[in-house]
């Protein structure tokens, strides 16, 4: 979630505490600092996921965090289908989904009547749901647990980067610990240190954008309630006249409540539990609840101009920040991690030139722009900036009662879906297609057996480039390093529902070249080894 002015009044007890441990890198006085290929700064969902991904690719990663605990409120709660598919590849998907609250239906109310409902995953045949709700502290705890299995990740708590010096061949970091400072050299530093990133300040980058004046009160309350597992959003509800409200379930009988306040509300008064309680009691119709977390926000939508500064690469909230209506904060950060990790791995191995990293900036800044645009539109709809904007919104809300187009214009948050990249890594279509994910789009899931999915097959081969091919009897011999997932034919995977072929607009012989992050690099009606090799070369930044 985007954090602007966070005034936290009650800290949920830290769920997990970690000890600081002295590392031999700190005992190199008089010697040159230890050299590391990658240092990731910030052990939030983005930094942890990136470290796991790199480790699974065989990279050694030092992961630094200035704190020594996970905790402090639920913060991000909605994790998207794409994030879950990523976490499946990192070995933590099942645990997240088992604990999380699965949902796909949202309802929008105006006053006391429902305007419409939507289903974010109206079709079957996907391994993962549209979303789960899960407190960020659980997500982080499961990721930290996963890191215990990965000796490649060296996670150092209470290690705070205090200075950074760019060099031709890397970055020199100064790190403060409870036992004093030490220095490290890294070929690359990945800054996943959040919206108030200190590394961003150290490289002297601007972080400009739009601040929304309206304030939002966000409370997580614990109660037993019979509300369904759906996202409920109100415009002008009877319990909170003239403003918007959101109710969303989390695990452990915790409910996320967002209440829009006006721009003149006094944050010091509004955050006091004795003032929050009656507002929430009016909403729920009772006061049998306990506070887990209360916070008051002003939202900002902004991004860095460049996500790459020399050898320092920014990912997640440190690079871009959005308002929370759309679940585009943590999810887009995870997409950053997934986009970056295979590229960085290839560059470190010398398979691809360093210029491949430029495509990380190109693709993910495009995604950031899209996320900022969507979340700005939602926030503007909730908090109109002028009388006329309010009038137009009123017209939409009243038209929504009797027209389909009005319902579709009501904007109570457009929820995160993977961005499609107009990317230098994609090979444009040369054949005719009338469906399926085009180059630059994310792969689609489909069943390949009872309880088995295409995303499983993609993951199980190891996340390298993959050729997804639909059998026509002829064998394809893909270039070295490309693994194959074959559908149909004697030895291929089954397509019991026909959904794989349908979702990929496949004919016998059709093949898709998938990048390690599950994006389509190229697709062919009649693949040749040469065409595949050319697309592979382009997708690795080799030409």
């Amino acid at each position: 979630m985007a954090q602007a002015t966070t005034l936290q009044v009650k800290t949920h007890q830290a769920k997990t505490q970690f000890g600081y441990r002295r590392h031999p890198d700190q005992d190199r006085a008089g010697q040159s600092p230890a050299e590391h290929p990658v240092v990731v700064v910030g052990a939030g969902p983005v930094g942890l996921s990136l470290a796991i991904d790199l480790a699974q690719r065989g990279q050694r990663v030092v992961l630094l965090d200035d704190a020594d605990r996970i905790g402090e409120g639920s913060r991000a709660i909605c994790f998207s289908k794409r994030s879950l598919e990523y976490w499946d590849r990192l070995g933590v998907g099942d645990r997240m989904v088992a604990k999380g609250v699965v949902w796909s239906v949202g309802r929008i109310f105006h006053g006391d009547s429902q305007l419409y409902q939507f289903n974010l995953l109206p079709e079957d045949g996907h391994k993962r749901p549209a979303f789960i709700n899960l407190q960020q502290y659980y997500a982080e705890a499961y990721l930290v647990d996963r890191i215990q299995d990965l000796p490649e990740v060296d996670l150092r708590w209470r290690n705070k980067v205090t200075a950074l010096e760019q060099r031709n061949d890397g970055v020199a970091l100064t790190i403060e610990t409870p036992e004093g400072a030490y220095r490290l050299h890294a070929q690359y530093v990945i800054a996943c240190d959040g919206a108030r990133s200190s590394l961003r300040q150290m490289v002297g980058a601007e972080f400009a954008g739009q601040v929304f004046e309206d304030q939002f009160l966000i409370a997580d309350v614990k109660m037993t309630a019979e509300f369904p597992t759906e996202r409920w959003f109100w415009f002008d509800p009877p319990f909170h006249a003239g403003r918007s409200a959101l109710l969303h379930r989390q695990p452990d009988d915790v409910w996320r409540i967002d209440l829009q306040l006006n721009r003149y509300a006094d944050p010091v008064l509004e955050k006091k539990p004795e003032n929050v309680r009656p507002r929430i009691a009016r909403m729920l119709g009772h006061d049998k609840f306990e506070f887990e977390w209360i916070s008051l926000y002003k939202f900002q939508c902004r991004r860095m101009d460049r996500f790459i500064h020399g050898r320092v690469i920014f990912a997640g909230d440190s690079a871009h920040q959005v308002s929370p209506f759309g679940a585009r904060g943590a999810n887009s950060g995870l997409e950053d991690a997934e986009n970056l990790s295979w590229k960085l791995d290839r560059v470190l191995r010398g398979i691809s030139p360093a210029s491949l990293l430029e495509s990380y900036h190109a693709e993910r800044s495009m995604a950031a722009d899209e996320n900022i645009r969507e979340s700005t539109r939602s926030t503007d709809f909730m908090a109109p900036n002028s009388h006329q904007e309010a009038r137009l919104r009123k017209a939409v809300l009243s038209l929504a009662k009797e027209t389909e187009f009005g319902k579709r214009m009501v904007n109570g948050g457009r929820l995160s879906v993977p961005c499609s990249y107009d990317s230098p890594l994609s090979s444009p279509d040369a054949d005719a297609w009338c469906g399926g994910p085009s180059p630059g789009c994310s792969m689609l899931d489909a069943p390949i057996a009872e309880q088995a999915y295409l995303t499983d097959a993609f993951r199980d081969g190891g996340t390298d480039f993959t050729l997804l091919s639909f059998s026509n009897g002829a064998a394809i011999d893909p270039p070295a390093g490309v693994k194959q997932v074959r559908i149909g034919g004697g030895s291929g995977l089954a397509d019991p529902s026909g959904l794989v072929a349908k979702r990929y607009d496949a004919e016998p012989g059709t093949a898709y070249l998938l990048r390690p992050d599950g994006y389509v690099a190229a697709r062919f009606r009649h693949p040749t080894r040469e065409a595949i090799a050319a697309a592979l070369s382009r997708a690795q930044g080799l030409n």
Binding site: Q388, R391, L392, A395, L399, T403
Partner: protein, 74 residues
């Protein structure tokens, strides 16, 4: 399809009159409400973002031209 600015109504006076009459007896605020809804209904009926943008462009240009004329007269 570009924005059509040729006359599309057989009886343009009827169209103008229909809009005028819709506003009869309304306060300024009510008129603004009516117009807002009407714009959105018609925009959706057109259903073409390029035509809509062109129409917005024409309406705004006319407003800016009007302001400049006023300034020159002063």
């Amino acid at each position: 399809m570009p924005l059509s600015t040729s006359s599309n109504f057989v009886r343009p006076d009827d169209a103008f009159r229909a809009v005028v009459e819709a506003h009869r007896g309304l306060t300024e605020e009510q008129s603004a409400d009516l117009d807002s809804a009407l714009v959105l209904i018609l925009a959706n009926h057109i259903g073409d973002i390029d035509v809509l943008r062109e129409a917005i462009g024409l309406a705004r240009r006319r407003m800016i031209d009007g302001q400049q004329q006023q300034q020159q007269q002063q």
